[in-house]
Symmetry: C2
Subunit: 228 residues, 2 copies
């Protein structure tokens, strides 16, 4: 990495960092390239040397967010790899919520509704999205394959035309995933996602005194259902 490339990277990082700060204050729509440039003490158009346009900056932030979340989940999964699958999954799901609350803007960038006027570049963001789901699937696979846990009974009653599966691009390194594991993973994902969304957007607070406790109790219940 040449000296120039190094400085360039520093500048890019500063831009992204200020962008995140800006959105943390005024919401995901308050992102202004001009304002960032001003804060950095340079003129607006200078930013276009680093990001082709506003959407390119947003895409970069989204990819970063995916990576950050994924790596935190992976880290937790690794740290508890020697525990039971249930304990490991529990810790991963707790990390998931923790990350969402600690990085509300990043979470919205990933899972919130599309930014006004912004069309996500699927090609760029999709591979990163898969990385988030991967550790969960891996733990489930461990539970049902290595720990030989029985699949929950309800799986047998899934109506036959219903099929779930991973897109080809996600299947790398996850060769013969069982259909059942994906189904259970999906159920788990929508459970935690529903809870976190409601909490993050303040829909849950009027109804409950301790969201953290609610979340903990519900993921225990979820894992009971999963027969973990």
């Amino acid at each position: 990495m040449t000296r120039r490339e190094k400085f360039r990277q520093i500048t890019i990082d500063e831009i992204k960092s200020l962008a995140r700060l800006q959105m943390a204050e005024g919401g995901t729509a308050s992102l202004s390239l001009n304002a960032i440039a001003r804060q950095m003490g340079m003129s607006g158009p200078a930013l276009y040397r680093y990001f082709e346009n506003r959407d390119a900056l947003l895409t970069a932030l989204i990819v970063d967010a995916y990576h950050d979340l994924a790596s935190e989940l992976e880290e937790t999964a690794a740290r508890f790899a020697d525990q039971t699958a249930r304990e490991c999954l529990k810790q991963v799901l707790l990390t998931y919520r923790r990350w969402a609350l600690d990085h509300p803007v990043d979470f919205q960038l990933i899972f919130g509704n599309p930014i006004p006027g912004y069309q996500a570049e699927e090609a760029l963001t999709a591979p990163s999205a898969g990385k988030v789901f991967a550790p969960i699937l891996r733990i489930l696979e461990r539970a049902y394959r290595l720990e030989n846990r029985a699949f929950p009974a309800f799986l047998a009653e899934i109506p036959s035309p219903l099929r779930v599966g991973l897109a080809a691009s996600l299947q790398e390194n996850q060769p013969d995933l069982l259909q059942q594991v994906v189904y259970i993973g999906l159920v788990g994902w929508y459970h935690i996602h529903g809870m976190i969304m409601l909490e993050l957007f303040q829909h849950i607070q009027p109804l409950i005194n301790e969201p953290a406790l609610f979340y903990q109790f519900e993921i225990e219940r979820l894992m009971d259902q999963m027969n973990l």
Copy 2:
């Protein structure tokens, strides 16, 4: 209602309608007062006679969306009021999904992340949010109070510091709701919410070939858990 007020209302409705159309095409951030005015054949500033600013228009759209969803849910609840609570709830939850799919923009306005730069006026939107939750609670109350269904076993294991209840603003016409009912309602809400998000925003890669079937199967499972 005077003649003037009538025409004024028509204009307001046209503005809102065009706003929704615009957002349906370009996302929630593509809302432009100027563009609406142009489409209506008048100058930009004229719109400010009808809405103080952009946020006021957005707030109006959000309140409308809440009302529309709530009234559809109420209608379904009323139509199936003579059936079992389970059947009635099932129909209401199906309506919920149907509405979300038919009105993606409205759904995003309500439950998506806050629009960039837009700070929801809690005072204006919170009461409307309660109206969406109300029919679900009413059906659950009917099930456990009138139909005398037993509460699911897991309720007994809720950790004691955890308390659920309705905020005062939501409690109108719902005087002494059981804590348990609210808890179950909350669980139901986050379930369907998570599923709809999953389907609508396709954030996660595992693909479902028949989302409708998935949803149906999962709400049956949900109601089994609720012991309905």
